[in-house]
Symmetry: C2
Subunit: 466 residues, 2 copies
Amino acid sequence: MNAAMSASKEARFLKSALDERGARTPTEDVRAWLAARNRDVGVRVARTRLSQMRDWALDDATGRIRHASGKFFSIDGIRVATNWGAHPEWAQPIINQPEIGFLGCLAREFDGVLHFLIQAKVEPGNVNCVQLSPTLQATKSNYTRVHHGKSPKHLEWFLDRARARVLLDQLQSEQGARFLHKRNRNVIVEIDEDLPPDPDFAWLTLGQIKHLMADDNLVNMDLRTVVSGIPFGQDDVRREPASFAEAMRASALAGPRALMAFDDLISWFTGQKVRYELQVTPCDLRAIADWELTDDELRHRQGRFFRVIWVDVEISNREVTAWQQPLVEPVGEGLLAFVVKRIHGVHHFLVQAKLECGNFDVLEFAPTVQCITGRYDKPEWNVPFLDYVLNARPDQIRYDVRQSEEGGRFYREQNRNLLVEADESFPVACPENYQWMTLNQLLTFGRFNNYLNIQARSLLSTLRFA
Amino acid sequence: MNAAMSASKEARFLKSALDERGARTPTEDVRAWLAARNRDVGVRVARTRLSQMRDWALDDATGRIRHASGKFFSIDGIRVATNWGAHPEWAQPIINQPEIGFLGCLAREFDGVLHFLIQAKVEPGNVNCVQLSPTLQATKSNYTRVHHGKSPKHLEWFLDRARARVLLDQLQSEQGARFLHKRNRNVIVEIDEDLPPDPDFAWLTLGQIKHLMADDNLVNMDLRTVVSGIPFGQDDVRREPASFAEAMRASALAGPRALMAFDDLISWFTGQKVRYELQVTPCDLRAIADWELTDDELRHRQGRFFRVIWVDVEISNREVTAWQQPLVEPVGEGLLAFVVKRIHGVHHFLVQAKLECGNFDVLEFAPTVQCITGRYDKPEWNVPFLDYVLNARPDQIRYDVRQSEEGGRFYREQNRNLLVEADESFPVACPENYQWMTLNQLLTFGRFNNYLNIQARSLLSTLRFA
């Protein structure tokens, strides 16, 4: 795969991930900047009623909630049939957003270190208003200006490829339990030009971004997914890692020492896709027995999973400063956990092949434990490895931070992101829908469409290498 | 990607592709065997009427033609909307076969050379009755015995992975203009056991299979797709190739000398998938204005594209010896052509990102020219590079053979497979939905789901390396 040609790009990403001292803005100043933006940007989000929404309404013919333009997204009903998991059939609302949007970062080298142009961005559903976001975060409706607002800043670098060098450009999926077949274009392009200063933007190294991921809800989902796709090359360093961070770096670079050959992982995943079937058919939201649509909200009758609410939004520094929209509010917190274990001298991640109803291609690679909404600790859920990660000793926990899901669609949704290092006694043998992979193998799959789910990517993005 | 671990597997594939002399059965004997099987296997295929089909009928509620069991496949109607190509909207019948079947080859080493267990198989739509086929060719309905027949021979090696070593195991797509989201599992597993002799099977080297692909319609589509996925490793041999076959081998192994870096190809394809949209919705076959369903056939009113016919089949050596089924009959022959050109000392293939309505993921890599059904030479079709390949000088034509499509679904469908070596004057610059790739790059994409379409794979499978 042109290792020689891409080596320099990958080495530059690794350097940026290791280097916090080479940063233009000290990390503490970044926190101060965010605090200042939180003071300066005016935000108001208030519940409203469906009947008070000017441009959103239930479409009587199809039974879905849509925007008058037919753009942005809609809330649809689906019926699901599958032979995966404990529930062979159900119906649920889902967000249908067939457009592919941009999640784009501008990159630039300063003093020999790659920096990324990060935006302090407010989304209506954010738990803490301003979060660190990619340079550009725009749906097609957004950047083709269906909303008649201003064009998003820096869009031109991503539309006109002749002006910038592409470092990364992947289609990646979003939450399969909430979105129907949703994908975004994750892009990093490098420029050499000076940009005029802008209070909403700052240049950070990759090491700084990863450092800031140690804070709850500071780095938004979109920036985490862009960061998760960054490759670091391949190597066969056999030096003993002095820390967990060095072990992660070795796993990212790990060449031939993986437990399972790459083609054998492909074969395993092929078998999983043949074994499990997923059938999704559209249905009228009003015809879903377990869900109830009122003027206030769309909710599960037993209060489970999530509800859809309608909100009035005002945000002072956006292309359009006031609008209305539906938001999805979870009923509880979720848990995302990877179990990591040293095998043959290299750290491996215990990866689950998981089916979610909105998945583009049946199954994707998920963290060892993924329970999106609450009540995962009830015994009837019987989630493999859940007890292990919840009962890990403090010295096994390598990461434990709350991270937000996308505040443009989800209202104050956060998940506990957990990384647990298994000790010697943890078995290498695992259930048929799990497999141990090095970080390098996971990143190789990540270059292709619809392998790693967003929860797996979110956790991988947080790994520090120094 | 574990180059060291897989090198030996890939080197063994390459050796088998180069070696015809090491073969157990001389290639001429294979031809004689096929001729004998053609004499010995009784085949009768006769047109019938829809009303005479015992288990197939139009489903009045959904307007599709289905088997009483709900298994095998159905003929559905779809409406298509897209911004790709000259036709933004149309409706058509399509084969809906959501099950993933096996296309499997057993492999075994004899005297240090890998051989593949090839079946002489008759399908009702075959133009010449017996064709060389994989060891196992079975839909899920087939191998779960919905038809209450015998279990397919050698199935057990593919179901119980503990008994054999997996050499290849990929999900690959089928014809996107005829099948809705169809995929098959392409598998090669290696065994060490002796198998009892069977008149329907013979062990051939990869070189022999490729040699026999120089004959019209001898190697069936299913074997061509399994062969197309075989990897040969990576190398950077800079020796001047002495022949076109050696140039193909160099392109299969080509390391860093490709025109475009692999990640840049991913970026280009990401851009194509963002740009082009495909919407497919089911519809009643009877509601398609341009198509007419009669007791005799389902046909386009102007006689274009294809028609669906109903047939009585008797084949003496199958698990079930008599049955009825629909078959798709094309109205004309198609053309599949790759333009190949030496760039930076390595041969590159001019690959098209092509949308077809049944594609699983909007676009796949197709040959430079792909016109599935007739009339492609009318000027209004305006197919890029068509004139070039049709007017190539004899010394530019490296391959020109008629190959059949799958005779289990298609009635006597064959396409002209053409490989044209462009000369110096052929421009490297190409339209935005085309890209030059080495064979090694194509094979790397082929390891992942839904990149190379079946027409591209069919052509690549025919390449000889010696």
